[in-house]
């Protein structure tokens, strides 16, 4: 019964023969997917960091910055790509503009919230010791905001990995190509493979970031010994 569902033929839920024949393509899509998602997170984080530093330094800019990134966040992804293609064409650039745009709000908010959450006494002590303001931000504020920042990165990563499946529509590659292919041919297997691997990649990103957080915040794990 199980065999009939899973492996019988092209009509089944998952046809292993197809998977065997398409290892190379699946691997290529995996690399594309990883690259698209990874690049979006790196660029998104860099932009968010700059925006957050501006917002933290000039507090009045925080509301307008959140407002703009909030609007970006609410635009339906399909509509955004449809709007971008005539301007930036098909390919990676268009995909990344959209993907990066969606990470900004989450990352920005978490960076700002993380830095805001650093105890005032710690900031005051750092100033009193003679940290210059930028050095304090790097050595104290952002370090202590790490758990909150990484929490934001995890949400952004999971969202982005899922969203990359849509960028196949603008010709950027990734698992979306497999899903697209399956949909157009009414063929289950590539859809199942693309979706499953996309989910697996999201989980992998999440666990990697969780591990990174653990490694970066050794102080958070020590229990209070008195």
């Amino acid at each position: 019964m199980t065999r009939a569902v899973l492996a019988a033929d092209a009509k089944s839920f998952l046809w292993w023969d197809w998977v065997d024949d398409h290892y190379d393509e699946i691997w290529q899509r995996t690399l594309e997917h990883l690259r698209l998602a990874g690049l979006a997170l790196v660029i998104g984080f860099a932009i968010s960091l700059v925006l957050a530093l501006v917002a933290l330094r000039f507090r009045r800019t925080y509301a307008p910055i959140t407002w703009v990134t909030g609007i970006l966040y609410t635009i339906p992804s399909l509509a955004l790509f449809a709007f971008l293609v005539p301007i930036t064409g098909l390919g990676t650039l268009t995909a990344e503009i959209g993907l990066v745009g969606y990470t900004l709000l989450i990352l920005l908010r978490n960076i700002v919230a993380g830095v805001d959450g650093v105890p005032a006494s710690v900031k005051e002590a750092a100033d009193g010791m003679g940290y210059t303001s930028w050095r304090r931000v790097g050595a104290v504020d952002l370090r202590l905001a790490t758990p909150t920042i990484i929490a934001g990165l995890r949400i952004a990563a999971v969202t982005t990995v899922g969203l990359v499946t849509i960028t196949a529509l603008v010709g950027a590659g990734g698992y979306g190509v497999l899903i697209d292919d399956g949909l157009s041919r009414r063929f289950n297997t590539p859809i199942v493979v693309g979706a499953t691997l996309s989910i697996a990649m999201a989980v992998a990103f999440d666990l990697t970031l969780l591990g990174t957080e653990r490694a970066l915040t050794p102080w958070a794990r020590r229990s209070r010994r008195r």
Partner: protein, 368 residues
């Protein structure tokens, strides 16, 4: 005071916070002599913390001038100034993400010392403030409140700054630990002789620790500035008197030492004295016992009733004095000794040598 004598000098310093019409600190002028501990004391809203933070420029004055070691604090970048001024705050503000050792080495690292020099200095400081060196690798959250505050002091002293600013450093720890930390600060100050400005709302803490106390009223107005003993003896006005609280006499007695009052020769006689001579001395001091001396050693005391029929007082059965103090004993403690042993006097000894006696009357005169 001669100009230039002060380690820290405030000249008509005023601070009005934005959005406020009233001054937090008003035309405050104050000279802090080098190597002394000056306490800024007053009720909340008196601007004591604001004043402290203007010294290391965490707050900039609206007008007036602050001079540290002869130069205006605005003559160089704030961060450079702050590396030369130790800073200790109530909530300690240790960096939670750094080990105790890294925390202590903060300012030396900012000053660009090499690693070995920082390490050596940290080891030195750990000893100085009485921390267990096994704590060096711990994170601040693993320390008790008292340990954290010691680390805070070590961190403030790390680059050996001439000046130390302390903002209510002990008000968040429990009373027993507080007394320990206060005693340690006194011991430390004996060793390092820093110019310390210490903010507290606790007048007793100020009296215990400070060489000079500045009492501020709400709005940052200086009411009186002087040695604790001077304030207690002659409060400048009703505000100071009220702030010093009750038992001013007792508080002064805690500051004065036995050596500050004239000692009585005491009801003593040499061992060779006759009972008649002894009775004469007892009569003079109004007691029914007499101390027996051999040279400058005090052998003990004899009761009036045991002297009859003896040739010399030294032959009487002698009891040891339980009520004795040294010249360095605080008058308050001497009084306590007298009261709890139910005698009228305490024997004053120095290295077993008899110096005299201090009677309740003399303590009272000393406090006058």
């Amino acid at each position: 005071m001669v100009a230039g004598d002060a380690a820290i000098r405030l000249e008509a310093v005023t601070k009005v916070f934005p959005g406020s019409t009233a001054a937090a600190v008003n035309e405050l002028s104050l000279d802090v002599p080098p190597g002394t501990l000056t306490a800024l004391v007053g009720p909340s809203g008196c601007g004591k913390t604001t004043t402290l933070k203007m010294i290391n420029r965490l707050i900039e004055p609206t007008s007036g001038r602050i001079v540290v070691d002869g130069t205006d604090v605005r003559d160089r970048p704030a961060h450079e100034l702050r590396r030369d001024i130790g800073y200790v705050i109530q909530q300690v503000g240790l960096f939670p993400h750094q080990t105790v050792a890294t925390n202590i080495g903060t300012v030396p690292r900012l000053l660009g010392w090499d690693k070995q020099r920082v390490r050596d200095r940290v080891a030195e400081l750990v000893e100085l403030v009485g921390l267990d060196e096994r704590l060096l690798r711990r994170y601040p959250s693993e320390l008790s409140g008292g340990q954290q505050q010691r680390v805070g002091v070590a961190r403030a002293l790390a680059a050996d700054p001439p000046i130390l600013l302390m903002d209510e450093p002990y008000s968040a720890v429990d009373p027993i630990v507080r007394v320990h930390l206060q005693d340690e600060l006194l011991r430390l100050q004996d060793l390092v002789q820093k110019t310390i400005v210490f903010v507290t709302h606790d007048i007793d803490e100020a009296i215990k620790l400070a060489d000079r106390i500045a009492i501020l009223a709400v709005g940052g107005v200086l009411e009186q500035y002087g040695a604790p003993e001077e304030l207690l003896r002659r409060p400048a006005n009703e505000f100071v008197e009220q702030f010093l609280g009750r038992e001013r006499g007792l508080k002064r007695m805690a500051l004065l030492k036995v050596s500050d009052v004239p000692l009585s020769p005491g009801a003593v006689v040499p061992a060779e004295a006759t009972p008649a001579e002894a009775k004469e001395v007892m009569g003079r001091f109004g007691v029914d016992w007499v101390g027996v001396l051999e040279g400058d050693r005090l052998r003990g005391w004899a009761a009036a009733g045991d002297l009859d029929g003896l040739e010399r007082v030294g032959d009487a059965p002698l009891e040891r004095f339980v009520s004795w103090v040294t010249p360095g004993t605080a008058l308050r403690e001497a009084l306590d000794t007298i009261v709890t042993t139910r005698t009228r006097a305490a024997v004053v000894l120095e290295d077993d040598r008899y110096l005299g006696m201090v009677f309740i009357e003399q303590i009272a005169e000393g406090v006058e």
